[in-house]
């Protein structure tokens, strides 16, 4: 049964790691490109927002599966 908790921890942990790296790069590039071209700030923010949606899709599903493992399979 402990393996289920380890699996859930891996799913959440690796998902969070990927999302963290992705958001860090995305935010950094947004700041950098806005500093280069301040007049494009709104359009860049919109593009970053759309990319954020693509970034967090997989971790979101991972959280759902991990909660299922913790509360239904192991619980």
């Amino acid at each position: 049964m402990e393996m289920v908790y380890i699996a859930a921890a891996l799913i959440i942990g690796l998902g969070a790691l990927g999302a963290g790296i992705g958001f860090g790069l995305l935010g950094g590039k947004l700041l950098e490109s806005t500093a280069r071209q301040p007049e494009m700030a709104n359009q860049l923010q919109t593009k970053a927002f759309i990319m954020a949606g693509l970034l967090d899709a997989v971790p979101m599903i991972g959280v759902g599966i991990a909660m299922y493992l913790i509360f239904v399979v192991a619980g």
Binding site: I12, A16, A19, F23, G27, L30, L31, T34, P38, E39, M40, A41, N42, Q43, Q45, T46, A48, F49, I50, A52, G53, L54, D56, A57, P59, M60, I61, V63, G64, I65, A66, M67, Y68, I70, F71, V72, G75
Partner: protein, 130 residues
């Protein structure tokens, strides 16, 4: 500076929510044909995505413009963390407090709504407006 570049970005949150809720109701009705339990589990699975996602969209566009970009990026990070935490809390609450739950309907509808939400952001983009 052109008119477009000075404009404030309008977030079509109401339009996104309307389409998402319509799709969610259709999906729930499809699951409802299997059983009543599957129908309401599917509806709750969709709501688990829709509520944190609406919060994320609302908070990301609270600040706009080049002067506030550092605040906007900080807000985006916080909104994402809160969105993931809210999703985990909602799933935990459903799995512990709701008995019984049709798990395939719940997770399938959640996954479909995640894909639909991403596609909606792409198709109906926030647009600059005066």
């Amino acid at each position: 500076m052109s008119r477009l570049k000075k404009a404030i970005t309008y977030v079509p949150l109401a339009k996104w929510l309307t389409i998402e809720m319509a799709a969610l109701i259709v999906l729930s009705l499809l699951w409802f044909t299997e059983s009543r339990l599957a129908g309401y589990s599917a509806f709750i699975g969709g709501l688990i995505f829709v509520i944190p996602n609406a919060y994320f969209a609302h908070r990301t566009f609270r600040y706009q413009g080049a002067r506030q970009v550092h605040v906007a990026v900080g807000n985006m990070f916080r909104a994402e963390s809160i969105k993931l935490a809210l999703t985990a809390v909602f799933f935990a609450a459903v799995f512990t407090l709701m008995e019984p739950v049709h798990v395939p309907a719940l997770l399938f509808t959640f996954a479909v709504m995640v894909v639909l939400g991403t596609a909606l952001r792409w198709l109906i983009r926030p647009r600059p407006q005066r």
